[in-house]
Symmetry: C2
Subunit: 198 residues, 2 copies
């Protein structure tokens, strides 16, 4: 039999792929929760259930691990991008992704001084979509599509970026799927008001 992939990959004693993945996952959670500076490599290793030296071994240290994450999260963003769905649906998807570890990571990196290498193509495509929606009459045509996108993205990530403020306003924990759903509906309703000519 083929010994190249026998012990089912998760039962094996040693499994580099798996270890790497565990570290990345743990790192996303830790970085997302506390931000880069406040995150301890020891905590990442502990969460991954692995020796902390392996961070150096696989990623060349804390910073390397962080950068690896920073460049990998674009996939997450991209999947919700596309399509000609109604704007409300797109926003709803965005609201929910802000509650993932990668979403939190994105928020932290946006505040930090050093520029993270975010995917420009994705943003450009989104701006273009805004313009199309304006032409289709779904959104007011007198607004700058870029700034409009910015405002909507910011609004959609409110449960993340204004977490404590949101909690104080609503009395609920904004980091729950239920809240996200409710909030997304409100946003959808809001953008509907932007197009509707009553």
């Amino acid at each position: 039999m083929d010994q190249r992939r026998s012990p089912s990959a998760s039962e094996r004693k040693r499994d580099p792929e798996r270890t790497r993945a565990l570290l990345l996952e743990a790192a996303a959670a830790e970085f997302g929760a506390k931000g880069y500076a406040a995150t301890r490599t020891t905590d990442i290793a502990a969460r991954a259930g692995v020796n902390k030296q392996l961070i150096s071994y696989y990623f060349g240290g804390k910073e390397g691990l962080y950068k690896e994450l920073a460049t990998s999260w674009h996939g997450t963003a991209a999947e919700m991008a596309s399509a000609e769905q109604p704007l409300g649906t797109v926003l709803a998807g965005f609201v929910h992704t802000t509650l993932t570890d990668h979403g939190r990571l994105w928020a932290w990196s946006n505040l930090a001084e050093d520029s993270p290498p975010t995917d420009e193509a994705f943003l450009r495509a989104q701006v273009e979509q805004m313009r199309e929606r304006q032409e289709a009459g779904e959104l007011p045509a007198d607004l700058d599509p870029g700034l409009l996108l910015l405002a909507l993205m910011a609004a959609a990530s409110a449960p993340l970026t204004l977490r404590h403020t949101a909690r104080q306003i609503t009395g609920e924990d904004p980091a729950t799927p239920e809240f996200a759903t409710k909030y997304a509906e409100q946003l959808a309703s809001l953008v509907r008001h932007l197009s509707r000519r009553t």
Copy 2:
């Protein structure tokens, strides 16, 4: 003559009030720029032009200094609050305050896990104002006033919370007053669309 306040307070060799103020100001800048965890007490002291031991002397350490700031910034927020100005004006004020050191500090603390003791009364008042605006027909009545406030606050702080994203979308530095002004105008225009029945 009264020696209690003679050397004009800024020329004196020793001036506790001034030192405290210098430290608070420097701390706001440093914390705002890098966040709590990444800020070094040495940097704060250096920026204030003062010995770092004085942080312990006056505030009982790094954390004490941070908390002092956290509880003091509400004044900043409150001043822009009130009034029956048009919503666009209020938002514009908010956009600009997000670019101050205190604004940045607020953003960081919103992301951090530990809850900062933000001023609840202020938020409640703002929610109430939203409701009034809805009743006055300035805003759609079918939206939850709290969530609406949240969305608008988030949108207004986009140049701050989505700094890098904003830069990539627009190609400009969102941390400039010029950008803030332009962005605020767009927001005003946007909320105008929310009320207008064309």
